[in-house]
Structures are given as C-alpha cells and as structure tokens.
C-alpha cells in the first residue's frame, strides 16, 4: 500500500516529519517498506537562468553557458544539450551534488579546455522520466534559485507500507491516518460525507439473482446514474497522486474509482450507461460464459464466479474487474456507479482461479467496511459532479448490510493478564475510542463494540492487541520467565533425539561430511529405492525432479556425490541423518542415518600419499562405518545378524542386510548396484550404508548407574592360530561364531588374521586363518587342556563346513 505525505495530510492534521511518521507507522504495526523522499534526493537542484549560451571553442556539439543560479555570481557551465540556449530557464546542479540518473557525484571540471562549474540536467538525469534528449526547460516565470523539487511539486514523500491480512482498513489512506492519530501524531480530519439526494430515479434496476443460501455472495449492491458528465483527463493533482503510487491515470471517471480505492479502501466500478442494455442482474456466472475484461484479456467463467450482467450478458467480474464493453472513456456522458459488498472467500477463490490480481480483489478478499457501501457511492458521486459535472439520480440499493456484531465483554485487566503491562484505564479507553471503537459502561468490565471497518476484531485478545500497539510494544517490560521448578534442569532429549545427535557427531568423526539434501526426490529415484507410492507424490512439485517424498537418504547423497565429482572432488565421504517417508501418516516417517564413500575416500585417508596410496573404497568401508555407528550409539551387537545380500540399491554379492532377527531389519550396507549408478548417471566406486534409527533396540531401563562388576583374571591369555581350508562360499563370520561357541567359557576372542585364495589352495576353496584367544579364569591351562580346545574347534569346523586344517 502506497500513499504520499500530502495525501495523508488530507486526512491527518499533523506537523510531524516524514521520519516521525514512518517510525510511528512501523511502531503501530503498519510496517514501512520504503520511503521515497524526492525532496531530499533532489534538494541540491535549483532553478537557473541561462544568461548566455555560446559555441564551445574546441567542440562543435558543446556550448559554454553563463548561468544565473540566484546566488549573484554567474556560473560558467559547459553543456552538451542541443536545446541549451540563451534566455532559457533550466535546472542547475552544483558541483558536489549527486546525479541519481548517472550514479555520479558531480565535480568541478575542465571540458575540452573550458572550465565547467556544474551542470544543467535532463529529466533522465534526475530519474524523473526516460527523457534524456535535452535539458529540462522551465517556463519564463519559474523563480531562479528555488529548489526544483519544490517548484515541480516533487517534494511529496511517497511512503509504502506492508499491510497484514487482518488490517483491510489500512488499505485506505483514511485508515492509515486514523492509526497515526490514535498514536498521537496529529488530528484526524477525514472530511465527513453528506448523503447525495438524487434529482431523478435511477433508470437502471438491479436484481440480486441468488438462491437463498448464496445471498452472502453479494450482500448489498448500490447503484446510481450520473447523467451529463464530461469525461476526460483528470486534474493534475489527481493524476500526480495516482502516478506517485504507481498507477496510470486513464480518465477522470476511472481515476476517481482508483482514488476511492486507495483513499477510502472502497473499490467502485463505473459503467458507461450508454453501453449497458436494460437492467443489471448480479448472479453466478454460467459455465462457459466469457468476458473481455478491462485488462484486455478474455476470461472463461464457471458457476463459482459472480458476475454483473445486462441484457447482453456479462459486463463485469464482480469485485474483481470490469468488462471492456461497458467501460468508460472520453465519450462517456452518462455513467453508472456501483458500490457493492462481496463475499471475501468467493472473491479470493475467483481471483485465484482467473489469475487476476486487481486492487479491487485485493481489498474485497480482505474485507471492506460494509457500512461505507452507501457513503462511498455518495462520496464518489460528489467527486464526479465536481470534476465532470452532471446530475445524480437517486441511489438504487439492493440486499442488506450485515447486522452489527455484538459488543465484546471486556475486563480491562485482560491487558495486564496477557501482556504484563499495567496501563491506566483512561489511556486504554482513549486508545480504543480513537481507533473508532465504542466503549460503553464503566468500571472494571466494559462493553466494547468494534467499528464496522474492523471485521478482524472478534474477541478480547484483539482488543488487547489494539491497546498494546497504540500504547507501544516497547512499553512492555521484559520479565524473567520463572522456572517451573527451582532445580537443576532435567535432561529433555528422547532416546531418538540423543541418538540422532550422537550419530551425526560419530559419523563426522569418521571423516564423513554432513549433507542436508531435499526431502523430495525424483519419482524415478524414489522408485529405485523402494518408494514412489502415490500417497507420497506431490500434486504441485516445485520441479519435476523434486516430486516424491524420499524413501531413503541415499538418492540425495548419491546425487550430491556425483555433483561434487563433477566439480573435481571425486573422493567424497558424505552422510545425512534425517527423515525418510514410507506413508503419509506420522508413523510412516522415520529417522534414517546414511553414509557413502566414493573414490578413495577411506577412513584412514584419501588419495595418493608418500606412505602408500589409498585403495578405492569397498563394501567393508561402509560396513566399518555402520558398525562404528552402532557401537558408538551403544547398541549391543551380539545379536546382530549380517545377512548376505542387501536391498535393491546394493550389489547383491557385495552387500548385507543388518537385522536383529528377520523382523528386526535395521538397515544395510554394501556397494551401490551398477544398475542404480547407471540409472542415476553416477560413476563409482560408491559404497554406502543406511540404517533406521527408529528401528534400533531401546536401551534397557536400569535402576542404577553402577556399572557391572569388573572381574579380572590373574592368568595370562594365550592365543592359538588355525588355518582352515573351506569352500569359498563359507562365511567367515559363521566360522568365527562356531569357533567362539566351541568352548564359550574359555574363548574370549576370535579374529580372522589371514584370508587366502589362489595357488596352493584348490580352486573354489579358500584358506581362513583364525586366531583364537583363550582366557583361563581359575588356573593356568595345561598343554592337554589347550589341545582339547583346539580339537573341539577343528572337529566343529569339519562337521559344519567340511573344513580341513591347512597343512
């Protein structure tokens, strides 16, 4: 919403400066978005008289002018404008002034050997127009020395405010003035409106043709004919005002409706009566009806939209935009002026459906003052007769104004209760009444009736807001919020929240870099990773490749890895901990943690190094990450099964599913499937893991923080090595478990210390070397006892895997 200072002063008697006014606007909730104060910007530019303009001795196109700037001493200026000539009046810019159109600060200079002490400027140089053909020429009577901005009446600041959706009343200058007056900046002086008595009956009748349940679509409709007007360009003051707020003057009748829109938040419509056939009917449009609107576009309508019709058909889109066919132009003699009320919801929907953003729609969908329906028409009538002449008919009025709303039962104490601010009753009452509220009763509880233009006010809290914003939010004292209990704060994070935090720190400490990628991915990628359910597809995605809620963090990470590789950073290790989606219900959203490594981005280092180059990543790098994550989160992994083969995204022979039993799948790791790489246009090697933090077992609640008792053996552990030849497909993990179980009470650890396939070992077989650690608890083991454990292990291996000891 834009207006000028002089326009505001039509409604507000104030001597306050633009700065005070703008500060106050922001303070009362009408946030100032911009101030264009041309008087300030143009204050250096003054009117000057060209005493003499003669040819520059060294340049054909330049003239040397002797200029009277009103300071007494003539000033010499070199000027390149073709229209610079002796005896003219123009606008002088002294050295040191800033030329907005050129973005330079003028200095004294010598141009082709002649001194120049300033400049005569064009409109373009002052950013007043695009005209840079010549310097500004002023009439003979323009007073030399006067600031040009004052002379040209440009010294009127334009203020732009942001109006929140609840404050429809501030979409008119009068409403803005009311807030300022209430805030103590002068006196409201909006002229009152006298009803216009028409001198003849309006020849055009109006019918509101709605089913009973649709009456709200057009609660009231006022119309009047003014005959014998003379339409043409509106007076300069009106044009200047409209231009200042960015509107294009059209003709007096149209300019008056625009003026009313911005002056009083009262959109009107004018029909050229000569182009209207018969009476007017207001009704729902019929599907397929069309209208050529004033913006020059043809709109196809449906029965959700409300229209105003004559005997020919649709003449206007109710509350949104008029029709071209019945529009007013210079030839208009008889004009029909409409002032109506429309249903805000319907206007909003229709405007959206038709894609029209008009000033009328903007106001009607926020709600205009219903009680101003008639006075608005009267005020417009007076203006039209003033500016265009003519004679007004009586007013036709159909429908009825909404009933006034019940007064709000308001205890003054409510202000203190909600804000903590203790204000005198009298101050609160003045704030409300100066905003147009009617306060009745006395004492602690009063009745407050909101003015008709404040449709947003519905209860006590709204009144508190009104009082507070006029009093000033800065008057509310900052008050410490007491703790609920006077105690050291209790931990607040849930297990999942703690795990989410810890997982990020842990993965970062393994050299992975945290990424935050979009929650939505392409449909193709979602499908590849097990998603793509229609319930999780956006109806209005911002881009075609951001359409589906992600079922996995990996597509986003893979895409990011590839983007980094394309920038020359191929050895990347990324992770993300965040939400993935399996249904549109809250339970269908879980927290996943995923990581990937590309190229040679291994834990111990990246790329080539004098100490030995890093190998390309493999599935064990991903396994190490996920196992470290589980152990870091304190998840007991004794029962964790690593089942060969992973989800569809993984290489089937180089991946595994991680689970606590078949129903307790927590995630997977492995090399990314070549098909996925191809589908996503990504190059490997790429290994990854993903687990669902929600699926991890919860820690057992324990009554005490005491750790289990530490029992240390007094006897040294000893290690025995076994190398077995087994089928290549036997899982080493199974062999480790078998070895471990051979003598649980003695065997404290089993590791694989060597693995070999190749010459010396039969094809299809492999050698797996286990180091088994025995930890005696009660006594030193004898050789016989140690050998007995060894035999047990060998026997079990032979029985289960057909293993033989390597010779």
């Amino acid at each position: 919403m834009k207006f000028t200072l002089s326009w505001l002063k039509d409604h507000l008697d104030t001597t306050d400066t633009v700065d005070t006014i703008t500060e106050t606007l922001t303070r009362v909730g009408l946030e100032v978005e911009g101030v264009e104060d041309r008087a300030k910007a143009l204050q250096a530019f003054t009117i000057a008289y060209v005493i003499e303009a003669k040819q520059h001795p060294n340049a054909d196109r330049l003239r040397v002018c002797l200029v009277d700037t009103g300071t007494g001493e003539p000033v010499q200026v070199v000027c390149g404008a073709p229209n610079a000539r002796t005896g003219m009046k123009g606008v002088f810019s002294p050295p040191g002034s800033y030329i907005p159109g050129k973005d330079i600060t003028l200095g004294k200079g010598v141009i082709r050997g002649v001194e120049s002490n300033g400049m005569l400027v064009s409109e373009a140089e002052l950013q007043l127009s695009e005209d840079h053909d010549g310097i500004i020429e002023l009439p003979e009577d323009a007073p030399v020395g006067m600031p040009y901005a004052t002379y040209a009446k440009l010294d009127d600041a334009t203020i732009e405010i942001a109006v929140t959706p609840n404050r429809a009343d501030a979409l008119g200058v009068s409403g803005v003035a009311r807030d300022l007056a209430a805030a103590g900046l002068g006196t409201l002086r909006t002229p009152s409106i006298q009803p216009v008595r028409g001198s003849f009956p309006c020849p055009v009748k109006v019918a509101l043709d709605f089913a009973p349940q649709d009456k709200k679509l057009c609660p009231a409709f006022a119309l009047r004919l003014i005959r014998g007007v003379k339409n043409g360009p509106s007076p300069e003051w009106l044009q200047a005002r409209l231009r200042a707020i960015g509107l294009r003057p059209i003709n007096t009748l149209v300019d008056i409706t625009n003026f009313m829109t911005f002056d009083r938040n009262r959109p009107l419509h004018v029909f050229d009566a000569a182009k209207v056939r018969g009476d007017l009917t207001v009704r729902r449009a019929k599907a397929g009806e069309e209208i050529l609107a004033l913006d020059g576009r043809t709109y196809k309508l449906n029965d959700e939209q409300v229209v105003i019709c004559d005997a020919h058909g649709v003449e206007s889109l109710a509350g949104i935009m008029g029709g071209e066919a019945s529009g007013c132009d210079e030839n208009t003699v008889d004009v029909l002026v409409e002032s109506a009320l429309w249903d805000p919801l319907n206007i909003a929907r229709s405007g959206r459906a038709l894609g029209i953003n008009s000033d009328a729609r903007y106001r009607f969908e926020r709600g205009v003052d219903p009680d101003f329906c008639r006075p608005g028409l009267d005020l417009a009538t007076v203006m039209i007769i003033d500016l265009c002449g003519g004679e007004a008919s009586e007013m036709v009025f159909e429908g009825e104004l909404p009933e006034s709303r019940p007064a709000i039962d308001f205890p003054w104490s409510e202000v203190k209760r909600l804000t903590g601010l203790d204000l005198p009753q009298v101050e609160m009452k003045i704030a409300l009444t100066s905003l147009g509220f009617h306060v009745s009763g006395a004492g602690e509880r009063v009745k407050v009736a909101a003015p008709s233009w404040r449709g947003d006010v519905e209860g006590k809290a709204d009144l508190v807001e009104e009082i507070l914003r006029i009093a000033g939010l800065d008057r509310v004292a900052s008050t410490p919020l007491p703790r609920i209990k006077a105690e050291v704060v209790k931990p607040v994070l849930t297990v999942l929240q703690k795990r989410t935090r810890a997982a990020k720190r842990l993965l970062a400490s393994r050299g992975l870099v945290e990424a935050v990628t979009w929650s939505f991915i392409s449909h193709e990628a979602a499908t590849l990773f097990g998603g793509g359910s229609p319930k999780l597809v956006l109806a209005n995605p911002i881009a075609a490749d951001l359409s589906d809620m992600r079922p996995s963090l990996l597509p986003g990470l893979i895409r990011s890895a590839q983007a980094n590789a394309a920038r020359g950073f191929g050895d990347v290790a990324l992770f993300e901990v965040g939400q993935v989606f399996f249904s549109d219900e809250p339970e269908g959203q879980v927290i996943a943690a995923a990581g990937l490594r590309r190229g040679t981005a291994r834990l111990e280092g990246v790329g080539r190094h004098w100490d030995g180059a890093a190998e390309p990543v493999d599935a064990f790098d991903a396994k190490a990450d996920v196992m470290a994550l589980l152990s870091g989160l304190g998840i007991p992994v004794g029962g964790l099964q690593v089942v060969a083969g992973g989800p569809a995204w993984a290489h089937p022979g180089r991946s595994a599913t991680l689970q606590f039993g078949p129903k307790g799948v927590i995630g997977a790791f492995g090399e990314v499937h070549p098909k996925i790489l191809k589908a996503l246009d990504v190059k490997g090697p790429l290994v990854a893991f993903e687990i669902h933090l929600d699926a991890l077992p919860l820690p057992k609640a324990r009554p005490t923080k005491v750790k289990p008792k530490l029992s240390l053996s007094g006897f040294q552990p000893l290690t025995r090595d076994f190398a077995f030849i087994v089928d290549a497909k036997v899982a080493a993990g199974d062999m480790m478990r078998t070895a471990q179980n051979a003598e649980r009470s003695l065997i404290s650890d089993v590791t694989v210390f060597d693995l070999y396939e190749g010459p010396g070992v039969e094809a299809g077989k492999k050698s797996v070397a286990l180091a088994v650690t025995l930890q005696p608890a009660e006594k030193t083991l004898t050789d016989v006892e140690i050998d007995a454990v060894g035999s047990k292990i060998v026997t079990e291996m032979t029985k289960r895997y057909g293993a033989t000891l390597r010779g």
Partner: protein, 360 residues
C-alpha cells in the same frame, strides 16, 4: 721413571686409542686378566717385605684402579659415539606430511550445529524438544491454527499438497513448525515449554528462498505466561545464541492467525563490509515472529483461554545460522558442495555447551 709409571703410561695410552669395544676388552685382558701385566704386578706384592709392600702396594693398586677407571670411561665414550652414529643414521624427514585424520575431515552441517545450540539454550531454560511429521493434515497446519478456510493468509504460505484421498482430503507438507505446537497442546497437560525444530516447506525458490527450509517454534503455556515473559525469553535467547552481552530488540505489531497480539521482532545490528554484528549499530534486521497464543487456537486444542495463556514464536534456523556465521546465500545449504560444507561446517567435537560456550 720406574716400571709402574712406564706400564701406566703405556696402558692408558692404549686405552685412549682403543677404537671399539673389542679392542678395549682385549686391553682389559692384557692388563687386568689372569695373566695380565697389572695382575702380574699385583701378584708380586705377596713376596714383598712389609716395608716394600707399604711403599709399592698403593702404587700398584692405584695403577689397577686407574686402568680399570680408564677402561670404563673409554667404554662409555665409545658407547655414546656408537649411539650417536646410530641415531644420526636413523634420522627421518619430519617435514613429510601425515595423512589428515578423519576427525579433521569430517564436518557437521551448520543446521545441525545451530539446532544443537538452540537445544542447549532452551534446554537450560527448561524447554523440551518436540517434533512432528513433515507430512501434515490441513487441519493441523491451518485450521486448528485459526487460518479460516480460504483466508488470504493461507495463500501466503504457498503450500505443497499431495493428491486428495477418497474423502477429498489432501495431506500437505507443513508450511511451518506450528502444527507441532498444536500436537503438543493436544497431547500434553500445561505447563508446557517446548521448542520444535524441523523441516518446513513452501513453494518458493530464489536467492533467499528454498522450497525446503528449517524453522524452530517455541511454545509456553501455563496460567501466567505473558508478553513480558516472551520478551525476556527471546532476548535471553538472542543474547545467548549470538554470544553477545546485550542485544537491542524491536517488537513491531504484526499479524499471524495463531497469535493475538502478534509481533515481528527486529534485532539491532551494524553492517560493515558485509559483516553483521549484533549489539551495536543502527540497522534493524527482522529475525522472528511471535505472539500470545490466539484464544481460538487454545480452544481448538481443548484449553480454556480464560484459564490458560501463553506465547509462541517461530524463526528460521537457516536464517539465524546465516546471520550468526555469515553465509551470504541460502541455496548452498542444500547443495552438499564439499567445499562449502568443509568451510562452513563444524568439526565433529565442536559440541555447543553453555559452560564451555556455544562456539569455541
């Protein structure tokens, strides 16, 4: 010169000239061994008269001690020289680079870091962390929050929708974290103190807007919490978060459907050379929206607005991260450019605490 002196000179000379331990041992045997020259002299003592022995004894014993001492000394010198030689040979080029460890390469995203900072500050004020789903119902995202159906305020949110179900109801991506406050009020008895960080979505994409962003919502509900308390909470938060001794905040009346009275909050700052500093200067920067929870919202959540009251606020996590840490643009937050992440990200052990400071 007598025999002892001659032997002494000869032996000490040879010891000093010995080049290795083996030569030294040989000398020891020659002098002090069973049939060594000094041992031979010692043996002569037995055959001497007491007077002779009195005179010669100290000399011969002195010779033995001297030779013994010289051998030990020489042995130590030779050992030291050998060690010096070995150490010199074992020298490495310590200027060679070591591999950068994983903890030096890993990074925490600024959003995670800032969420941890927020959690730390509000945790100390007794707030817990509430979360809710990104896929929300129209009811929780709008209706319960007092957005009337069809109201222009809804339109301002540029909502992402899913396809309507059989009943014509369509889910949406939450446009703000405010539905979490509704969920909290419905499921929890006051007093309530929660903050709700999370992802939010709007159909918006330019230099300063991304279709996905992060917000943190705060909610306090009890029987006394008022606007003054809210001011204090927000001022304390800003001071703690931006790690400055004082902040000047400007509360401007504004409008949100779910609060009444509502305000937007600006924070005073200076901008010098593209750097923003808080607690000084004369510029204002909008930082959050807040207000007293609207009576309709309280009612919608089953709370009597004449009994319960409270306040709520919301701010952009990405935005305050940018303000605090100086990232100029929002879009790179979600582009996972390793160069940006390495530069603006945090080290794995940069854990924000109040005792140690949010940043070190």
């Amino acid at each position: 010169m007598n025999e002892i002196d001659t032997l002494s000179d000869s032996l000490l000379g040879e010891i000093a000239a010995a080049q290795d331990e083996a030569a030294l041992e040989q000398l020891r045997i020659t002098a002090l061994g069973k049939s060594g020259s000094v041992s031979a002299l010692l043996k002569t003592l037995g055959a001497m008269t007491p007077d002779e022995r009195k005179e010669k004894g100290p000399l011969i014993n002195g010779l033995r001690d001297k030779v013994q001492g010289a051998i030990t000394e020489r042995k130590e010198a030779l050992g030291q020289a050998a060690l010096d030689a070995r150490l010199a040979a074992e020298r490495i080029d310590v200027s060679l680079p070591v591999r950068e460890g994983p903890e030096a390469r890993g990074r925490i995203h600024p959003i995670s870091q800032v969420i941890d900072e927020i959690t730390t500050i509000f945790g100390d004020m007794g707030f817990s962390i509430a979360e809710g789903p990104d896929v929300e119902t129209d009811d929780l995202n709008f209706t319960k929050l007092n957005f009337p159906v069809g109201h222009p305020a809804r339109e301002m949110h540029d909502t992402f929708f899913f396809a309507p179900d059989a009943n014509g109801e369509r889910k949406l991506l939450r446009t703000h974290t405010s539905p979490v406050q509704v969920r909290t009020m419905i499921s929890q008895e006051p007093p309530i103190r929660v903050v709700c960080p999370g992802r939010t979505y709007r159909m918006d994409s330019d230099q300063t807007h991304t279709p996905m962003f992060h917000q943190v919502e705060g909610l306090v509900i009890d029987k006394k919490a008022n606007f003054g308390h809210m001011k204090w909470v927000l001022e304390e938060f800003c001071k703690a978060f931006f790690e400055v001794d004082s902040v000047k905040m400007r509360f401007r009346p504004s409008f949100f459907p779910f609060t009444e009275p509502s305000a937007e909050v600006d924070i005073q700052c200076s901008r010098k050379g593209g750097e923003i500093r808080f607690g000084e200067g004369d510029d204002w920067l909008e930082i959050l929206g807040c207000g007293m929870v609207h009576p309709n919202v309280l009612r919608n959540c089953g709370l009597d607005p004449d009994v319960y009251q409270g306040f709520a606020w919301g701010m952009g996590i990405d935005r305050i991260a940018m303000l605090k840490y100086g990232m100029p643009d929002l879009r790179p937050f979600f582009e996972a450019d390793i160069r940006w992440l390495s530069h603006y990200g945090f080290r794995p052990l940069d854990l924000p605490t109040l005792t140690g400071g949010l940043t070190s």
